[in-house]
Symmetry: C7
Subunit: 73 residues, 7 copies
């Protein structure tokens, strides 16, 4: 798939696992189920990570776009 | 329920327990009673947690959306 | 009273005591006298708390909504 | 005077002394001479305080509303 | 001069020395040469101060309004 | 290529390697594949760096513009 | 040149060296090649400084205006 705008990347990884880095050294990992133009995300089967290890099993989660540093499939 | 936009997740968990993580390592747990398009929330039977233990019993609380990192049912 | 939008909670506790948690570990307690759509508040008989003890007696105070984490009646 | 909106409180204390708490543990005290809808303030005979003692005599000062936590007459 | 709005104070001290306190414990001192409605400022003969002593001589400087705590003539 | 507006620089380095410095001492390096007017970026073959060494291989990544300090080709 | 608005200063130093101080104690030095109304800048022959010494040679760089404290020619 051709990526011409940044949000095309999110579109191209729907229903696939992504890593989300938040401000304050927090990381979430889960399956991308939805996003909007503010970069608010819904992840399923999500875990919060600490030093690359699972800290908390969250299941579904809505992540506020404001506090996202990056999202990587 | 099908989640197509992030706020659909909030809609699908009305009157159910959610975990809310705020900036500055704060966590609230309570029953979701209302939300708006800024992600401002009302929780009922809410507790503030510290290291996964109850620190303060709050009862009802209005949470400002700006400072939310994520909400997980 | 039925709460259908977050600000309904503020409306339902006018002239009643509330606890306000601000960014930077500050807490105020006082009687809610007014609020607006930015969550700016006026409290009366307000105290600033530190570790749940009164640190400063403020009397009337206008609190800027931007820096509020949550308000609890 | 009846306070029905938060800014009514500022209006009611024009030309009277106020305490202003800013982000980053700064405090100013002075006579309120002007304000606008962003909560930008002008104080006269203003002092910056540290641990409730005068640290710097400022005289007139314009305070940016964005960084205000609260204003108390 | 009568101050009725906060920016009147800036207008009244054009071409006069001002002290500018920024977020993050930075202070600038210089002659106010220009400002706009975002509180962006131009100072001339400006110095950056640390603990009230001159740390860096800057000459002319444009200061971003967003990060200003207060300006005092 | 003539640079007359800041975003012209991003346009001129499409499909070339860039260094991105984020708030909180984070750095990413990768091939610029897309950007928008909020400075949201897509990088390919991206690495997160720590002290100029590769810390995490990310592959594709969407970087939120809000938290970018600078981008250098 | 007469400076009547803050951005006039940037206009008057195009193609000249400037010092840019960012949030978080970062400093850049380089030749100003472009700017826009958000204070986004393009510098050429840019260096990142630490304690007034060159830490990283960047060459061209686009600097996000949001995180600028001041720019000094």
């Amino acid at each position: 798939m051709e990526i011409t705008r940044p949000f095309d990347l999110l579109n191209s990884v729907m229903n696939q696992p992504v890593l989300v880095r938040l401000k304050g050294n927090k990381q979430l990992r889960g399956i991308l189920k939805a996003f909007d133009q503010h970069m608010n995300l819904v992840l399923d089967e999500a875990d919060e990570l600490e030093n690359d290890e699972v800290k908390t099993k969250l299941g579904k989660v809505i992540v506020r776009g404001d506090n996202i540093l990056y999202v990587s499939p």
